[in-house]
Every structure is written in structure tokens, then in C-alpha cells.
Subunit: 384 residues, 2 copies
């Protein structure tokens, strides 16, 4: 299903030879209209990859007719020549597809600081164009994988006759900077670019932007939403926004579930916060605490490390009013020892941490992973 | 040597039975005068352990006659009863030593969220008092170890006849919040409390405060400086400040060198910064990047992860002007590929990263460690 679940889209995924192991590494997504409205959110990392700089320019026009995505190389920190490579990719795709290069977005993922093998990538674009299909969504999702062990897709179908579908990749360098990772969403709803933009920003703010697997923010994060209008239906704005949010949330959870080396998915809910910003700041501080991440890996309900992480934030709270539950057991009450930690059952992959700041009524949920020897191995044994 | 290198001090270290394995766990440091001036800096974590809250009060008076330190329990997040335990410890030490409790500082380290076994700690204070000696500095340094594999001491002797010595513990939860870890420094120089305070704050700001082993800020960080005046000499202020800085720097490097599970000590120097604050922010962001820490462990000069970390900061820089050297090889120039990464030799424990922001003339050095499977094991296999 993936990006071809919605009407009006074709896609493909092929092996262009960018990856040395011969795995699929090039995906193409084409919007066949009748409309080509689009919105995008990108990494807030100030060191941005060439394809991010290019696609930000493309999105200013509010129309995207095709997206070229490659794994096997991030084309980040590659200087003016790297930008020329992205430009040449868009030009070549435009020529093959009969579109304007100014409507071709590009997204890349892989190792930072190496040039892409353009002698393989450009012929790959032509090959991918030849294989475009209304059933190609699955292959496209597979072609954008890097260290992902599974490909990620999600679909919501509205009873009103329109569909939102999407694909995502991401397993490491997985912390949000507005958006995160490579994601392409498509819909056949008839929605203008500004409304797409509003729905996408609202959705990413509480989904991809609250995934924090390893605290490391990528140079290439890109989330695109393309609308073909092929269903002929203009949806209710709230229903459409909820559908986009739902697909983003589904994909975000799949990213956390497949994070490099992780053995636990940690749902961190901060409640009783004075503001939503406080809740997010505290959630992120807990999510990024390496000692806590190790403790969760060891199935140790070490709430002292939660309090230690909360204490580094500027959120409104009093230390002697903090409460912390792990998997439903309030192991810390009023900043001190609470219920018996022996009651906490941590055998399952999902672990829930609730931190009550007792300072208001705002809340937020951040998703994180544990820290494991496998994560260290996967990120030290070779360049990635 | 340690805290008894300077004249006018006695110390001891004993096994009080706080640690279940019977290792030394209680240290006592006594200033026999003639003066008892003191200064202290403490964690900026807002969740502060009971002994930190107590000792901050004590230091307001500018005089400390004794310090009781225990390992085997942090007495953090233990509520009002935990504070009463610290108070009782100071009262008992004062009674045994014939001092006022208001001049007895207390420092604790170990697991957060458990009460101390006062039935063992209080008799231990009496036992430690009975063993006080002008040669007890080494035993005191041993008694404050937790996961430290070695005890840490340092001494500077001035030709002018005065000495600064000290001891430190710390191996995990090792990121600064003004000060970090448990450290006691002593001097026989005759220096008033406000001048001690100035020298200590200046020293910790560029030493302990720039150690960032694992990004995790403790609830118990304490650094104390006690002056006996026993040398009869009032030192030159600049020379004294430099001696204090030198001892702090020495101890800080020992902490990094013994960090939990680490296989590399990483010296991160940020140069060309617009302000010192920018340099520190960038250095800390690099120091805390788990992916980079893994890469360094794998002896992979992955400069893309350095740029990715710099990009998350608010420091003044242009992405296409950043330069990065690893062990002296400028692998990134102008935000892109620089010298051949194969030239970088990373076989040794110390790794040097230089990040040039090309935005000014300020700089800072942050010390960090790599991220290893041993760190994960040490912090997931049991509560600590």
C-alpha cells in the first residue's frame, strides 16, 4: 500500500548500485494529478544535507510532481558539488518524466560526508521511472531502508472516499528537529498546499517530533505530503488533519519499534506540567538520559535516574512534589520512595514512564528507546 | 598525600558497614586550624540530595571544621527523613570532635532513593574519628570510591611554603552542573573564605564543569575547599588560584580516565567561536552525541557526526565554514570533505577533536568519554 494507497500516485523501488551490497537503494514517487499540491517539513539541524536545501526551495512553490529518494548516501556535508549532484538528479528525473525540475523533490539517507555515485544514480532514475506502477509503494518503501530491519508503511482510508498513505525509513540518528527521518505521505484528497502544510505541521509536532530514540538529530530529516486530488473530494479539515496525524503516529511508532539495537520502546508521559513546553522539555531530558536508558535495558525501575534527569530542566516543579510511575507502579511519591519497586514488571518490550510534575494540567508524550550493547556495536563497528 | 598533604589537616577512611561488600565507605576530614575558612560549589541539578542541602547551609557561614563523606548511598530523594539523617550525622560528628554541627559538612554518594543505614553510619563516624591521622588522606580517598576503579588524589606545593591537595571520586553520572562529583580540597595557605570561594569557582568553571563523561548530572555533586592557615602564609591571589585550578584539572582528568566502561578519553576543543559560551555549548553537544561516542569507540573518525552535533546548537557559525580535525588531521574543511580520513590514527586512549567554528577567537575544552558495551553493562546489570 504505502505511498500508492491513494489514487493518482505511482511509485517504484530499484537497486541502482549505490549500495555496495546490491540491495534496493533508489525510490521514485510520482503524483499523476490532477493536482500536485504539496507540503514539507525538514530537519531543524543547521547543518542540512544538499537534498534538504534543494527540496526546501522546491516546496516554496507549493507543488511537487515527483520525489526521488536514495539510500546508500546522505549527500550531507558535501559542499557545492554535492548540491550540484542533487540538482542534476532533479533535472534528470524531470527530463525522464516530462516535468519541471522545480517540482521534483529529492531526499537522501546514508553516510554523511561522501559524494553520491552519480554514474549509478542517474541511470537508476531512468530505470525507476520505467518501473513506475500503481502498486509500487511497497518496493519504494523497501528501497529507502538503511539500517532499518523492516520497511514501514501506514494507511488511513476515510469513509468519505479519500485516503492518506505513507512510508518511512529511520533507525538511528533518530531524534526530532521539527520533522525527522525520510517520510513520504500521499493523499488523493483535494487539498490546497497551505492546508496541507497546516495539517502536516500539526501532525509532525506531536508525532515524529516527539520520537527521541538516541538524541541524535539528522542532517537529512524530511517529511513530504503530496496531494493528487484524484478522489475528487475535498475533506473536512479536522478529519483530514486527524488522518494525517494518525498515519504519522503509526509510522513514528514503527520507527521506535525498529530503532538500532533497541530492546525496549519507552513511552514517557509527562503530566501535571505548567505548560506543554515544560512537559516536552522534561520528557526529552528523561528520554536522553543514558543511565536511565541503560537501567531500562536491565529491567531496573531506577526512578532516581528519572528524578536526576528532571532536575536538569528549567520546567516548573518542586523537587519534593514529583511523582514517578514505571509501568503503572508509583515508585516515587513526593520526590521520595513510593510504592515497592519489586511490584514493577518490566519483562515486555514496551515500558511506560509517567512523570507527574504536580505543577499544572498540561502533558506530552515522548517515545524513546533503551541503550544497549547492540546499539553500541551497530554504531561503532562500521561507519553509518 | 591527598587531603592531608597540607598542614593542619587529619583524615581517615574506614569500613562502617554501609556497603554490603565490606569495602571502606566512610571518610572523615578534619581541619585543625588555626583557621577554618571554607568554600564550596554544588550540583546545579534542582533535585539535590539531603547532604547537598545541608552543606550549602553550612558553607554560608564560611567556616568548615570537618567533612563527613560516605559512599554506599547518596541519601538523595529520601525526603525529610533523609535530611534528618544528614543532620544527625553532622550532630554526631560535632559531638565526637568537640566542634559545632553548623561547621560540619556532609557528602554522600551511591544509589539514589534509599535511606542510609544510620545504625552503621553513626558508630562509623566515632570509629573514623578515633583513626584520624595526619597521614590518613589516602585512606579517606579510598573510602569515598563507588564504581571508581582507582582512588584519585592530587597535590600542588608552592615554593612559598603552602600546599593545595585534594581527593575526588566519580566514575558515572558524570556531567557537570557547576561542580561535579565529591571532591575535598585542603590547603594550609591562610586565605579568607571569600577569596577561597573566588578561587574555587574560577577553578571549577574550567575543570570539573567541563568534564562530560555521560551527560548525566548527579544529585550529589560537591566540591569543598578547606583552608587551615597552618603554613602561616597568605599566598599571592593569582598563584593560589592557579594552584587550585591545577589540582582541580588534575583530578578532573583522573575522573575522565576512570569513567565507567570507557575505552577512550576524548578532548574536544572548540576554537574560532564568537563567545566562550558558544564554544562550551558546541563542545557539550559534541560530547553528548551518542553516535559520535560509539564511532570513537570503534576508532572511526566519523566527522559527519561531529557536524551533525554542531548543527543542533545555537552558536554563531556558517555550515559551509566549519572545520574539524581528529587527532590533528583536518578531515572536514569548509563543511565538506577535507584531508583523507585514513590518515587518522586512533589506536590510543586519548582522542583529540578540534572543531573550528570560524566565527571568532574564543575557545573552550570539554572532556568526554566514548560509549561502550561495558558502559551499558555496568549501568544495566544492577542498580547504581
Amino acid at each position: 500500500m504505502s505511498v500508492t494507497a491513494a489514487q493518482g500516485f505511482t511509485a517504484s523501488g530499484i537497486a541502482a548500485g549505490i549500495k555496495e551490497n546490491g540491495n534496493p537503494d533508489l525510490a521514485l514517487v510520482v503524483n499523476n494529478g490532477p493536482r500536485r499540491a504539496a507540503a514539507g517539513v525538514f530537519t531543524s539541524n543547521r547543518v542540512k544535507a544538499a537534498p534538504v536545501l534543494w527540496s526546501q526551495q522546491v516546496l516554496k512553490g507549493g507543488e511537487v510532481s515527483a520525489v526521488v529518494l536514495n539510500s546508500g548516501g546522505a549527500n550531507a556535508c558535501t559542499g557545492p558539488l554535492g548540491f550540484q549532484d542533487t540538482h542534476a538528479t532533479a533535472e534528470h528525473a524531470a527530463e525522464v518524466l516530462g516535468h519541471s525540475a522545480g517540482e521534483v523533490a529529492v531526499a537522501s539517507t546514508g553516510l554523511i560526508g561522501i559524494r553520491l555515485p552519480m554514474d549509478k544514480l542517474l541511470p537508476g532514475v531512468a530505470k525507476a521511472a520505467a518501473e513506475l506502477s500503481a502498486h509500487g509503494g511497497e518496493k519504494a518503501a523497501i528501497a529507502i531502508k538503511t539500517t532499518d530491519t523492516v520497511h514501514k508503511t501506514a494507511v488511513v482510508q476515510s469513509p468519505a472516499g479519500w485516503t492518506v498513505g505513507g512510508m518511512a525509513k529511520g533507525a538511528g540518528m533518530l531524534a526530532p528537529g521539527l520533522a525527522t527521518m525520510l517520510v513520504v505521505l500521499t493523499t488523493d484528497a483535494d487539498v490546497a498546499a497551505p492546508d496541507l502544510d497546516a495539517a502536516l505541521r500539526a501532525a509532525t509536532r506531536t508525532t515524529f517530533d516527539r520520537v527521541d530514540s538516541d538524541g541524535c538529530m539528522s542532517t537529512n530529516d524530511t517529511v513530504l505530503l503530496l496531494a493528487s486530488g484524484a478522489s475528487g473530494t475535498t475533506p473536512d479539515a479536522a478529519e483530514f488533519a486527524e488522518a494525517v496525524r494518525s498515519v504519522c503516529d503509526d509510522l513514528a511508532r514503527q520507527l521506535i519499534g525498529d530503532a538500532e539495537g533497541a530492546s525496549k520502546d519507552i513511552r514517557i508521559e509527562v503530566i501535571g506540567a505548567a505548560t506543554e513546553e515544560d512537559a516536552v522539555e522534561v520528557g526529552r531530558s528523561i528520554a536522553r538520559n543514558n543511565l536511565l536508558k541503560c537501567a531500562i535495558h536491565g529491567e531496573d525501575p531506577n526512578w532516581g535516574r528519572v528524578l536526576s534527569a528532571i532536575g536538569t530542566t528549567s520546567a516548573v516543579f518542586e523537587p519534593d512534589q514529583l511523582n514517578v510511575a514505571i509501568n503503572g507502579v508509583w515508585v516515587c511519591k513526593n520526590g521520595s520512595v513510593g510504592e515497592d519497586r519489586e511490584l514493577v514488571d518490566m519483562r515486555y518490550r514496551e515500558v511506560s514512564i509517567t512523570a507527574d510534575l504536580a505543577a499544572g494540567s498540561e502533558s506530552a508524550v515522548i517515545w524513546a528507546n533503551d541503550l544497549t550493547a547492540d546499539y553500541v556495536h551497530e554504531n561503532s563497528a562500521y561507519s553509518s
